[in-house]
């Protein structure tokens, strides 16, 4: 497998751990600096963070409903973390931590477990009725089908982000070995659009999966 | 299209024939020369069969994703064309049509993903590798 040159690599621990820690340090320091000096008329950085939080609030209210405000910290930090870690790949010498399946699978598993827990807590015992299908005669077959389609959600959720970011990184690496001049740099900065797009899609799908397990059976029939 | 097809057929024929010729060569040699040379020749045959196997599975993987994506691409193009034409006729239906277009495109995309799956299986998890490598 081809490999990009990496600036910081501590031997013994995987590269994406260091990259995740770098992303966390960047986000925490930016949040600390911005939070220390909040203004009424926001500057560039503050308005960017405010945009993310206001947008998340809007989507949660529109898609989930009134009980959606509870998920604001989780979903907004998902958006900020994924966006920063996608954008870290555009700096030469670093790679995105989301270009490994471990990071994205962790994020998708959090959404999966949380959505089913909250659905079970809201509906109680009636939540199991969602897995039985429409006809009670076909229940033994339908339960396998429903469990499979429920299990395929976190996989596709994780795989989409991973595959897109990994393909970007891999394309730049291959181009770097084929013709190491201007072209890889151009391709590297073409990816910024894809980075924003994939972060947005992951974030929206997380909200939608939570909303799907929260909504009741009667709403689906209408 | 016919040209490409005939080139592919000729390529496959040449591959098959070369294997036969090589095998015949080895057989003739091994009959003629002593037992020491026989092991050398059989190791040659093994290397040849291994390289033929891996080369052909790489070729098959490339052809699978390439030819599979042609169909999905043509289908997606005609779907987008139909949706855009009907959107131009009736702009009030725009949002409904976009949702249906994306549904159809997701199903076509799954066909392309099946081709990608076959490519990955041929490249990374070849089921016949155990027979060749023993």
């Amino acid at each position: 497998m081809l490999k990009v040159p990496i600036l910081i690599s501590i031997p013994g621990i995987p590269i994406y751990w260091t990259m995740t820690i770098i992303v966390m340090a960047v986000i925490l320091s930016v949040a600390f600096i911005v939070g220390k000096s909040m203004k009424v008329v926001p500057g560039h950085v503050q308005s960017f963070f405010e945009l993310i939080i206001v947008m998340t609030e809007y989507f949660l209210k529109e898609i989930i409903g009134d009980e959606g405000e509870m998920y604001l910290p989780l979903i907004a930090s998902f958006a900020i973390f994924i966006l920063f870690s996608n954008l870290l790949g555009s700096i030469p010498g670093f790679t995105s931590p989301t270009a490994t399946i471990d990071t994205t699978a962790t994020l998708a598993l959090i959404v999966f477990v949380l959505s089913h827990l909250m659905g079970a807590r809201k509906h109680g015992f009636k939540y199991l009725k969602k897995f039985l299908g429409p006809l009670i005669v076909l229940a033994p077959i339908m339960i396998i089908i429903e469990v499979m389609s429920a299990l395929s959600r976190p996989f596709s959720h994780a795989l989409r982000l991973f595959a897109n970011i990994f393909a970007e990184e891999f394309m730049v690496t291959v181009l770097l070995f084929l013709l190491p001049w201007v072209v890889p740099a151009i391709m590297m900065y073409m990816q910024i659009f894809t980075d924003f797009m994939q972060a947005f899609v992951f974030y929206l799908l997380a909200i939608i999966y939570i909303a799907l397990s929260l909504e009741s059976e009667e709403m689906e029939e209408v | 299209m016919f040209k490409v097809f005939s080139v592919l057929v000729a390529f496959a024929l040449v591959m098959l024939e070369s294997a036969k010729v090589f095998a015949a060569n080895i057989a003739g040699n091994s009959l003629a020369v002593s037992a020491a040379a026989h092991t050398v020749a059989s190791s040659h045959a093994e290397i040849m069969s291994k390289s033929l196997f891996f080369g052909l599975s790489a070729l098959g993987g490339g052809l699978a994703i390439g030819l599979g994506v042609i169909g999905a691409g043509v289908g997606m193009g005609s779907a987008v064309r139909g949706a855009l034409e009907s959107m131009g006729r009736n702009p009030a239906m725009e949002k409904k049509l976009i949702v249906w277009m994306i549904t159809g495109m997701a199903i076509m995309e799954s066909l392309a993903l099946y081709a990608l799956l076959i490519t990955f299986i041929l490249f990374y998890a070849n089921p016949f590798k155990a027979i060749i490598l023993k």
Partner: protein, 71 residues
């Protein structure tokens, strides 16, 4: 921005991956069941087919929901 519109588009665009991944999950389940019970290729075939049906059923459910909602 229209909430229903964005919701539908995002949900529909993940259907293509769902079909293939649910059949892969079925394959994995069948493979381990085969290993556990000792059959050769019985559960693999059954569970791969069920996984494929699960993917198609997911598409059917989403389309039914899409017909019922108004944009």
């Amino acid at each position: 921005m229209d909430k229903q519109f964005i919701k539908q588009i995002t949900r529909m665009s993940s259907l293509g991956l769902n079909v293939i991944i649910s059949s892969l999950i079925g394959f994995a389940m069948g493979y381990y069941l085969d290993k556990y019970t000792g059959y050769i290729y019985l559960f693999v075939i059954i569970f791969t087919l069920i996984g494929f049906i699960a993917g198609i059923y997911e598409i059917y459910k989403q389309i039914k929901k899409e017909i019922n909602t108004k944009i």
